[in-house]
């Protein structure tokens, strides 16, 4: 495997170096070989944890490795403190995703509501009295 292929396989050295620097005192320096070795360690970490997670999926006849599997694998391999933090992160992420979907649904519903589907002959909207006239938020053309 040549240098370029090696680099493509690993996470970018700039990103890795940045994370390392954030943890160290401002005056600290990191050798290039140190960053390169860290790159390789992280790649190995990902492979190691993924294998464990994938084994679990395989045993349970599931095809897709998901966030919970990663969390479980971290714990199983001794990275309990990561598993806890990741568990919280995963929960917040899923919450945010659900909110995104709900927001989208809400937007879509509003659009359907005000899409002007009433025909020429139907002057009155088919909706109940409870409906207010479109407010300024209505943006359909």
């Amino acid at each position: 495997m040549d240098q370029q292929e090696e680099q493509d396989r690993a996470l970018p050295i700039a990103n890795v170096g940045r994370i390392m620097k954030q943890i160290l005192p401002p005056s600290a320096k990191i050798s290039k070989e140190g960053k390169q070795l860290m790159q390789e360690c992280v790649t190995e970490f990902i492979s190691f944890v993924t294998s464990e997670a994938s084994d679990k999926c395989h045993k349970e006849n599931r095809k897709t490795v998901n966030g919970d599997d990663i969390c479980w694998a971290l714990s199983s391999l001794g990275f309990d403190n990561y598993a806890e933090a990741i568990g919280r992160y995963l929960h917040k992420y899923r919450q945010a995703e659900r909110e995104k979907i709900n927001q989208h649904k809400l937007e879509t519903t509003k659009l359907q509501y005000y899409d002007g589907s009433a025909t020429e002959t139907e002057k009155q909207p088919r909706v109940t009295d409870k409906v207010e006239n479109p407010s300024t938020t209505n943006q359909s053309g």
Partner: protein, 121 residues
């Protein structure tokens, strides 16, 4: 419409491969995951995002421990030997021992890694 908030970064980060609000590129993480084994077929969208965070924690921990080694050696520059010492001193980093001991010779490392992978059954 984007929602503002602590996790809006998660919503617009996506899997574009750019670093964006995630500190590590998701597409690259996914690639590494897929290469980790024959069994790895499908990966959910959230998995690389979770890994991005896990890798950050991993890098931070290994860096901290390596820095302690450098300080003990009265140095302010982190060298690969410090990483190696930190790995050897930490149980949960045992999976990295071969990688750090043979970091000079890639061929030897791959050969040894293959053998060790076979043994883990």
């Amino acid at each position: 419409m984007r929602q503002a908030g602590a996790y809006s970064g998660l919503l617009c980060g996506g899997v574009s491969g750019r670093t964006g609000p995630h500190s590590l590129p998701l597409a690259r993480i996914k690639k590494i995951m897929k290469k980790s084994g024959e069994d790895v077929k499908m990966i959910s969208g959230e998995a690389p995002i979770i890994f991005s965070k896990a890798c950050e924690l991993f890098i931070q921990e290994l860096t901290r421990r390596s820095w302690i080694m450098a300080i003990q050696g009265k140095r302010r520059t982190l060298h690969k030997e410090d990483l190696a010492s930190a790995v050897i001193a930490t149980d949960i980093f045992d999976f990295l021992i071969t990688l750090v001991s043979n970091s000079d010779s890639h061929e030897t490392t791959s050969a040894i890694m293959e053998v060790e992978t076979v043994d883990f059954s």
